[in-house]
Structure formats: structure tokens, C-alpha cells
Symmetry: C2
Subunit: 249 residues, 2 copies
């Protein structure tokens, strides 16, 4: 039976979202440095073992409840006879614009895909901007236009938002949070937890394109062929897949 | 007929959320400086005229749709026979801890109150953290504990979250986004737009306490009596009020 996973690669650099804790067996030797002097390290946001530790040691003891404890990329809750999927993600990608996309399209695609990976039909998005004082207005305009195009292409409207401005030096240009709300069809249960030995993994494209595109831009790397981010909304693809292959889990 | 407005005062310094554009009549002389060289100024996040301009000139042309265009603090959408209220807010308050609260409790209260001001019963919150490299883990622990206490007191669980870490100097300690989802009772329509000349305004407490508490902390001001932030979740108060006074709008 196939397992569907998100290979949109946005998680590599800009979406280290809730990690799967099950790889951290007790006594397992951790190859990553432990937090020096109990301070936040960049690795705490990487989606790897340090992130898992932060979630397990700080956030879950404080905030844990049956829905949050599942640690999926989206929470599934019930409202009357509807099953809602809810997900949130902040986007802090650098540079803001890269080959194949920008922070705006990425913020729309990433959250839509977190819903789609739970089998949810995305219904609405929220968008919250933290802008750094001194940022060119034109940059905000380009990012907003890109978000709108991404949202329109995916058929998911942005219905509410928020803008904060912080002093120059207090943020890195633009941070965007998008929160997504979707509807999960009755009887559908997709989850990374349902992966079993022997499962076939369906991938939606080349692995790593988005990550390499960002790194290349950031470090000024050149390749013989141009590598573009493959950031895209996968909700339509997932819907087609679920129609065609009922046994996807 | 009385009008209910949110005087929880969190909007003064840390929640300059979607502004009311109706005060900007054409030709109205703007006392605030215009953007110098088309760059983001701190005032663009203040919730005042510059914020209104940014929303009207940049965000609405790009992202506008019938729900977003209403520019209320919460979007109301329909799902089958339910009316949902959805709101998002980022919290960038400095200092992180102040008399009467901290960024964590404020992030919970602010979003719950944005829902309550639309008459919605808050159901769920999401929490997304942007942490600065080097931040003491203990600070994260204190903030998470405070969020949990605020959420538990208000009876609204945090059901999904996200953590990003940015390089030292790329953010100011901690930014928190909370998004809230609530249920609006059938037939209830609360909105700032429904204010009419002659309305009586109900206030929930002293005006300005939160703002003064933050400013005092930031600037090292001392007063004869200690002024504390009155940050609090008002959902229960609003529910009681709606029960007692049907004509509130």
C-alpha cells in the first residue's frame, strides 16, 4: 500500500515544522551538539533532533493536549458534523526572492500543502506579516502580489490578516505566518503515522530542488543547469490522487 | 443601544491590527509623515493612518476579496450550517515580560478577544514562534507556561504550532503569532461598523493600563502607584454580556 508524503521540499530550509519524534528512541546517540548553556540554537528550528527536543521538553509539557500531542503538521478537530484540519507555519526564508518563487508564494504553498498532506481540502488562509522598518514598500507589493497569485491558483482565499512593523535591526526584512483551515472528508485518515514497512512512497517531484535553489541563491553557487524551487500547491494533485487510489494512506 | 468595544488596550502597543479605514475621508489632511522614499516606517504597524494606507494601497489591491475587504478584526465565514470567526495576530511586544503579563499571555488574550469582539465563542488557537538564536531556553519555557495558563483560564486549547529559529540579530528575541477560530451564534452580528451616533459605549476596564505598563517598563518610568497591564481574556465577560443585554451590537 502506498504512503503519500510531502516532497515539495519546502520543509528543507524554510519549514522545519513539527518534527516526528518517533525517531528519538531512548538512549539513541544524538550526533548533533546539545544546547550550549541552554540557549536557542539555529538547530532548534531545523526540524531535526534539536527541534524535537525543544518540542518535547518545552512545548509539550507546557501546552500539551490530545490534539497537539499528535504532532502532525495539521491538527484535526471536529465541528458539529465537520472534520476541520488546521495548520500554522511561519516563513523566514532568506533571500526573500529566489528562482522559482519567493517568501509569499512559499507561505501560501507550504500551508496549503500541510493541509493537503492530511487529506484536507484547503478552504481559507490567514496571512500575518512582520515587516522590518526601512523595507521598500515595493518589496511588500511584490510579495503580496505573489501570494495572491499562489492563492488564486490554488483556489484558496486569504480571508484575514495582520501587519506589524518592528524597528530596523529587530527582524530580517519580512517574516510571514500563514494559518490554513481545511475540510477533511469523512472516513479519510492520512498520516505519516500510518506508514508501514513495505509501503511504497509516492513523491511529487525531484527531491531537493527547493533547498538547492535557496542555498545557491544564498551562497552565490552556480550550476551548469539552473535549479529552480519547485514550490507549488499540491492540493489539486492530492485530490486527484485520492480519487484515483483509495488505498493511499 | 449600547455598542461594545474592546478596551483591553492590547491594541495600543502590540496589536495594531486591521485599522478602520472609514476615518480617512478623501482630502482629509493627514497629520502623520508620509512614507519617506517609499519605505516601511514604524508607523505602518501602528494601527493608525499609515497602517490604513498600507492596507488600502498595497494589501487590499493585491489580496482583496469579499471577506478580507470587510477589514474587521476577525473574518466570518460559513461552513455548512456553522458560522466561523477566524482571526490572526502577531505579537512583537518589547519587553517580553512586563507587569501584569508577558508576550505569551498577551498573544493568547489578544486573539481570543478579537474573536469575542465579533461575538464568537473561541474554540481553538494555533501558536507559531519565531525565536532568535541565543535566546535562553528558560525564556521559552516561561512564555509557554504563561500561554498555557492563559489558554486554560479562557478554556481555549492550543491545538497546533510551529517553531522557527532565526540567526542572532535577525529577530528580537521572540515573536509569536496566534490564530484563533471561533463559532458565531446564529443571528448574532457584532461589528464596529454597527456603531451609530448616540450609542452608549461599554468599556471593560480602565483605558490605557496595558499601554502605560509597557511604556513604563520600556522607558524605566516610575509612578506613585504601580500600573499593571490589564491584559485578560474577555470571552466569558462578552458571553455574559450578550446573555444579559440582547441589544448590544
Amino acid at each position: 500500500m502506498p504512503l503519500i508524503i510531502n516532497t515539495d521540499a519546502t520543509s528543507l530550509l524554510s519549514e522545519p515544522s513539527t518534527p516526528n519524534l518517533s525517531t528519538e528512541a531512548p538512549g539513541f546517540a544524538c550526533p548533533l551538539p546539545l544546547p550550549a548553556g541552554d540557549r536557542i540554537l539555529l538547530g532548534h528550528g531545523s526540524g531535526g533532533k534539536l527541534s524535537a527536543k525543544l518540542v518535547r521538553q518545552i512545548f509539550l509539557p507546557a501546552l500539551g493536549n490530545p490534539v497537539l500531542n499528535r504532532l502532525e503538521d495539521q491538527a484535526i478537530v471536529h465541528l458539529k458534523d465537520s472534520r476541520l484540519a488546521i495548520t500554522t507555519d511561519s516563513f523566514v526564508v532568506k533571500p526573500l526572492f529566489f528562482k522559482g518563487g519567493d517568501i509569499g508564494s512559499l507561505a501560501v504553498h507550504g500551508t496549503i500543502n500541510d493541509l493537503a498532506m492530511g487529506g484536507a481540502k484547503p478552504l481559507w488562509l490567514t496571512a500575518a506579516f512582520i515587516l522590518e522598518e526601512g523595507l521598500p514598500i515595493e518589496t511588500v507589493r511584490r510579495i503580496a502580489a505573489s501570494m495572491q497569485q499562489a492563492a488564486a491558483n490554488a483556489g484558496v482565499p486569504i480571508i484575514t490578516g495582520d501587519t506589524k512593523v518592528v524597528e530596523k535591526g529587530s527582524a530580517d526584512g519580512v517574516f510571514i505566518n500563514t494559518t490554513g483551515i481545511g475540510l477533511v472528508p469523512e472516513g479519510l485518515f492520512l498520516s505519516a503515522e500510518q506508514a508501514r514497512p513495505g509501503d511504497v512512497i509516492l513523491v511529487s517531484g525531484m527531491l531537493g530542488d527547493h533547498g538547492i535553489a535557496i542555498l545557491a541563491e544564498r551562497e552565490g553557487l552556480r550550476f551548469e543547469t539552473e535549479i529552480q524551487s519547485d514550490s507549488a500547491a499540491l492540493n489539486t494533485l492530492v485530490a486527484c490522487l485520492l480519487d484515483a487510489a483509495q488505498e493511499v494512506r
